[in-house]
Symmetry: D2
Subunit: 96 residues, 4 copies
């Protein structure tokens, strides 16, 4: 699996308005109703991380969750990151 | 509940060698065997956060967990932060 | 807090079509898309159990969850059980 | 993968004193310090269930957890059940 080019990433991100690409990684942040909802979402996402064997760098502060995705051993964003984005979006059910 | 002075915090931290005080907050980082163990620890700690109604700023990357504790509405470290430190230590079972 | 009478429980259950009363307890069962969704729902409900300090007897088999609620130390169904029912329904988002 | 014979199961269970075989399934029950510890253990075990794609029938009441393992589509106990037993024991850290 190769890293995606900036152009490929830009094209893909048109379908993912909640995600941005910078610093060689995909980024988003979510705001939940409360801490409990946020922890439950993280817990549910964690199952998908194990399925994909791909893990985020994520920071929780109370009801907010910042997520950064990159494929460390490839040195950039790959299809694997977009697979995890898809799994996360399905769980958090972003409506656009 | 007032913020603790730097001197009070320094004295207390003698009993907590895994924690440091800087940038107006208590900090530590843990390394677990794997992502699953880390998520489970976060999940278990989350219960105690709700009990104390006090929540960390924490970042997980695979098997590592960075925790930062401060009492935002007091503008510094208070006894509440040390209560959460105690709860976290009990769960992660730091042996010294 | 007293136990509710059979009549009181019957009246209340008109608003809770997914719940039944028998054997001195409230009962329901949920079916989720998969095991992971079921475990996440249990985890989210667990936070509310701690808030209420009231806990279910519940059985999980793959994607199914059977829940039984009663107030043991009162010997029957009380308002506390209905509070937990409300919390559970909010999480599982039963649409009727 | 075939079901194990009663003799094979009996032999294996000598190394698992906390588990019993009856009704065509392996059974155990755990008692934790509190509900939160029990839920965290279930949550941690759930990850291993997904890894093995094998799931228990388990009942939680406050700090207790009853676990029943069988391989439904084979009609009995198989090596897969013992793999999940091993994973569970490692998490709950049974000392004998």
């Amino acid at each position: 699996m190769n890293t995606l080019t900036d152009l490929e990433i830009s094209k893909k991100l048109k379908d993912y308005p909640d995600w941005e690409f910078y610093d060689n990684a995909l980024h988003t942040d979510f705001e939940f109703d409360n801490f409990k909802d946020c922890m439950s979402a993280m817990n549910r996402i964690a199952f998908e991380c194990e399925v994909l064997n791909h893990h985020p760098e994520w920071t929780n502060i109370y009801n907010t969750l910042d997520i950064k995705l990159t494929t460390h051993d490839k040195g950039g964003v790959t299809e694997l990151d977009f697979k995890l984005v898809d799994a996360i979006r399905k769980i958090v059910e972003v409506e656009e």
